[in-house]
């Protein structure tokens, strides 16, 4: 059991840290969340349903913890001011220009409601399928797709606002609903 647990969850830890950081921004808070998540994974490993996808199950736990944490923070009025954000939380970008762009992106991401942010992160960065995200979040696939579309649209608008003309060579193509 333990070797199974190890071989299936170990490869997910890096992705969990990345997802948690994307959701919470703060490095320590994100690692706290991942630790909490892993403890739950270890203690409930035997209670998984047969055939349940490990990645989707683990992400569901991480997501629920992130939502709880964000709600608590909102209730307590905890707010990470943009100036306070540890720049190194998103460091290691190859160049200064990239770093600025990445910081702007994270700022833009911060303006999204958490349900849109989590779907965007799971799909765009973690490569979960729409079906996996739907199961992890406990919502219908249609909801995942509409959150994704609304979230990306909003993110693009926020990015265009942040970046202005400078970073987008031939004017930012703005996404519009096609129907």
């Amino acid at each position: 059991m333990a070797s199974d647990l190890l071989s299936r969850v170990q490869p997910l830890i890096a992705a969990l840290r990345r997802y948690a950081r994307g959701m919470l921004r703060d490095r320590d808070a994100a690692d706290d969340l991942v630790q909490d998540c892993l403890e739950r994974v270890v203690s409930h490993w035997d209670e998984r349903r047969d055939g349940e996808d490990t990645r989707q199950w683990v992400f569901a736990i991480a997501h629920n913890l992130a939502v709880t944490k964000l709600r608590q923070d909102a209730r307590r009025g905890v707010h990470v001011a943009i100036e306070d954000v540890d720049e190194s939380a998103f460091m290691a970008s190859p160049s200064q220009e990239h770093r600025i762009r990445h910081n702007e992106l994270m700022r833009a991401l911060d303006t999204l409601p958490q349900d849109q942010r989590s779907v965007i992160l799971m799909v765009s960065v973690e490569d979960l399928s729409y079906a996996e995200v739907a199961l992890a979040l406990g919502v219908p696939i249609g909801t995942v797709m509409s959150r994704l579309a609304r979230g990306r649209e909003r993110l693009q608008r926020a990015l265009d606002g942040e970046l202005g003309r400078m970073a987008r060579p031939q004017g930012a193509p703005v996404l519009r609903r096609m129907k």
Binding site: L5, R17, Q35, L38, M91, L105, L109, L159
Partner: protein, 281 residues
């Protein structure tokens, strides 16, 4: 945006463009969407924007996955900790006690933040603190040595308001080297010190318990000093040392066996529990 060719069977909408960028389309649909994008510059622009955003997100966050994973997120450590927590059958016994509403068992884990003040978790901390101060003291670790055993016992018994004996750990290789009364936030405690031939020291600390008066044995540690703590009928015990938990556990078992209330002071705990169960039924 309505320049859709008449031979496209299912109209292509925004969701298809997202799915195209996310590689979520089957081959046939992907081909249809590809054709549509090729014919429709606005759709092509939208796809380029979506895919650029996706790439930007990935590159902004990718470095996080390359960072070394901190020690506290080591899965094998977490699994090992979990196994140690699960090893003890007393957890099952405690669960039965809890479900029957017997005993004031406050929690099964020492990390339980809801444990009452002065309970077993506090005792464990006090025992570690006493160990850290006295067991490391080479000049004056004890107030009274083994020659003054009778005097020591009468002193600590009067402080604890309860007759106390010195557990004998000689067969396990630890010689009794004396003891003292120590102060805790929850009243006086007795500390007995033991020493092995190699100089390794152990302490057994006991005090009266206002909470968690009957508690199964729990492992505790602050990383350097650790051991086991439990309580029997209002008297709490903790064995602490610097050894590995596997080495300390049999010693704690031995102490517990020796300090078990004798039948002359009342029925043994199991039959008392049985009597209480009978009353509940």
């Amino acid at each position: 945006m309505s320049t859709m060719s008449s031979n496209t069977p299912v109209p292509i909408d925004e969701a298809d463009l997202h799915a195209y960028v996310d590689n979520a389309l089957d081959a046939a649909r992907r081909k249809e969407v590809q054709d549509y994008i090729d014919r429709n510059p606005q759709a092509a622009q939208a796809v380029a924007a979506l895919s650029g955003q996706r790439q930007l997100l990935r590159s902004a966050l990718s470095s996080i996955a390359d960072e070394p994973i901190p020690q506290r997120l080591s899965l094998s450590n977490l699994i090992r900790e979990r196994r140690q927590q699960r090893r003890w059958p007393w957890q099952m016994a405690a669960a039965v006690f809890l479900s029957l509403g017997i005993g004031a068992i406050g929690g099964l884990s020492l990390r339980d933040r809801t444990a009452p003040a002065g309970g077993i978790s506090a005792l464990a901390g006090e025992a570690r603190a006493s160990y850290a101060v006295y067991a490391t003291d080479n000049l004056h670790p004890v107030e009274m040595g083994p020659q003054q055993r009778a005097e020591l016992l009468s002193w600590v018994s009067s402080k604890l308001n309860q007759p106390v004996t010195v557990p004998d750990l000689t067969p396990s290789g630890y010689r009794f080297s004396g003891g003292r009364v120590v102060a805790t936030e929850h009243g006086p405690a007795a500390m007995f010190l033991y020493e092995a031939a190699d100089g390794t020291r152990l302490a057994v600390v006991m005090r009266r318990m206002a909470h968690e008066t009957d508690t199964p044995m729990l492992q505790h540690s602050d990383g350097h000093v650790g051991g086991y703590a439990w309580a029997v009928r209002g008297l709490g015990f903790s064995l602490v040392g610097t050894g590995r938990p596997e080495a300390l556990h049999p010693l704690a078992d031995e102490v517990r066996r020796q300090v078990q209330p004798t039948p002359s002071t009342g029925a043994n705990p199991r039959s008392r529990a049985m009597q209480r169960v009978a009353l509940l039924e």
